[in-house]
Structures are given as C-alpha cells and as structure tokens.
Symmetry: C2
Subunit: 191 residues, 2 copies
C-alpha cells in the first residue's frame, strides 16, 4: 500500500512537471527524456507510468481539465449570480496563473493539426463549451438579461474567441495586458 501511494505521488509529480514543460515549449518542443530529467526520475521510470509522450499529454490535459472545472465552479459561486459575472471572475482567476493560460494557448494551437494527439480532445472541448455557453446565454435571453435580437450561438463563439485572444495578448505582453477589460466590454454590449 505504501508503494502504491508512492507511485501515485510520483505519477502526480511527473504530470505537474510535464505540464510546466509543455506550457513552456509546447508538446512538440520537449522530449520525454527531458521531462524525466526535470522530474528527477529515470526515463524507464517515466515510461512505467506513461508508455508514450502522447499518454503523458493526455494525463496533463486531464489534470488541466479538472483544475479548469474547479475554477469554473469557484467563479460561478463567486459571481453575483449572473453568467457574465462568472465569466469575468473566471478571467480574473486565469490571470493569476500564467502557466495555466500558457499551457492551453500553446496546446490548442498545436492541436489544430489532425495529427496532434490532442486534436480530437480540443475539437470535442470547443464543441462542448460552445454549446454550454450558448445555452447559458439563451437562458439569460429568456429572462430578458440579454438583448433579444442577438444570436446565442454567435455570442458563445465571441466569448470563447475573446477569451482565447486576450490570453494570447496577455502572454505576449508578459502579463502587462489584463484579460478582464476587453471581455467585460464585450459582455456589457450584450445587455
């Protein structure tokens, strides 16, 4: 049992190391040998947990997604009850974690290639998130909180694009440009 626990701790340590490394260099810019070295374990030790670099990538994405869902839940509870408020709280929490933003930005762009091991995951995620956000806006429209002539599908695409785009600007500007201002101005225009 103790060795199982040690195995889990080590596995988690490898995932966190790989997350930082993929965030910095992309999936394509780093080898499992480098990640093993950074994690302070042997390459066979790493391969014991993750037979291929693609397996490690999917574990990193799973870890990312779990954290992302936590942040969304926190944002929903922290907001004034409006969905717009939750999206702005979410942007604020992303700002506090540049590695998190960087990982997503780099992997999403790399994954546009169908040959990338995260391609299907990202395609499915964008479809799912777009549908979820459109549903939320449709509900707010039903309650008169969003102007009736706007198309919820288009609003969902806009919010996702704005989120992704300002994250790229934030990273290129070394954190000097915030995420919240352009997103707030967009959401305000929906009312």
């Amino acid at each position: 049992m103790r060795s199982n626990r040690r195995g889990r701790v080590r596995r988690q340590h490898v995932i966190e190391t790989a997350l930082r490394s993929f965030a910095e260099h992309g999936y394509r810019g780093v080898s499992t040998a480098t990640i093993a070295q950074e994690a302070g374990i042997s390459e066979p030790g790493l391969i014991h947990h993750f037979p291929t670099k693609a397996d490690l990538l999917l574990a990193v994405i799973e870890h990312y997604e779990a954290r992302s869902i936590e942040l969304i839940q926190e944002a929903l509870s922290a907001s004034d009850g409006s969905y717009s408020g939750a999206l702005l709280a979410l942007a604020g929490s992303h700002e506090a974690d540049p590695t998190f933003i960087r990982l997503f930005t780099v992997l999403a762009a790399e994954s546009v290639s169908p040959a990338h091991p995260a391609h299907e995951w990202f395609v499915a995620r964008y479809d799912r998130v777009r549908a979820e956000i459109a549903d939320r806006f449709r509900e707010e429209q039903g309650r008169g909180q969003i102007r009736g002539e706007l198309d919820p599908e288009t609003l969902a695409r806009q919010v996702i694009a704005m989120f992704d785009g300002v994250q790229l600007q934030y990273l290129l500007a070394g954190g000097q440009l915030d995420l919240v201002t352009p997103l707030r101005a967009l959401l305000d225009s929906y009312r």
Copy 2:
C-alpha cells in the same frame, strides 16, 4: 545572372515549402532535414540559403507579412470606405487561405515563450497592430462613426482577440465555422 535567378527561385521554393510545413507541424515540430526533403533539395543546399532553422523561420515570417500587407491593402480598397468594412473583407480573404491562418495561429502561440526565435517579432507585431487599429477607431470616433464612450485601445484589443480566436475555432472545426459572423457582430456593436 542565370544562376542568381535560379538561386532566387530555389530560395523562394524553400520558403514556401517551409511555410506549409511550419503551418502543419509548428516551428518546433519539423526539422530542416524534413523541409529540405519536402523541397526536393539536399540539406547542405538548404543550409546554403538558410544557415539555421531560425533563419528560415524569419524568412517565412517576412513572406507571411508581405502577403498580409497585400491582403490588408486589398481589403481597404474593396471595402465601402469604412474601417469595419475593411476588417470584414480581410477576414473573408483569410477564410480563403487556411494555410495562412494556420501558420499564424501556430507560430503566434509557440512564440509566447521568450526562447522562441519569433518571440520578439510577435511581441512587436502585436504592439504595432494594436496601436494602428486604435488610431483608426479613434479617427472613426472623431467622425461620429463609433460611439464616443468606447475606449479605442480596448476596441483594438477586442478586434485582434476576436480575429485570433475565431481563426482558432475555424481551424479546429475544419473550416465549418466562419470568421466573419462573430467579427461583424462585434463591429456592429461599436456603432
């Protein structure tokens, strides 16, 4: 003279081959050996023109930027004279060239790392384009074409983010989602 011309033609052929390859695999996902093979020349032949992969990347970016400026000029002449019209025409022309979109999306995201050879180029480009777009919106605001209470700097950040974000969605959706609809809705909200 003929051999100089052959050299230029070959150099251009290598740049176009590298552009497609970087668009597909990113700068990090491809070697100069692969590009030489795809271009049908020897690796020493490639190195004669581009001593390092970073040199080749900068030549590809220069080629991209020249094409980008052409597209912007065309969009400005094709539009009804409004800056918004030109931005929508530009989005339409990007849709017609997925490789062009893909190259930019992948390289911009990779380049958030300060170690990436295109990092400084992308940082400078985003600063410059943001200032240019803000100036255009400021002028339109002066002519009463954009609402007075909006901040031109924020609008510029929004337009760039929306452009980048919808391009990512377009690529992930295999071209099934257009660029123009979300951008038009954004620009309409400025009036």
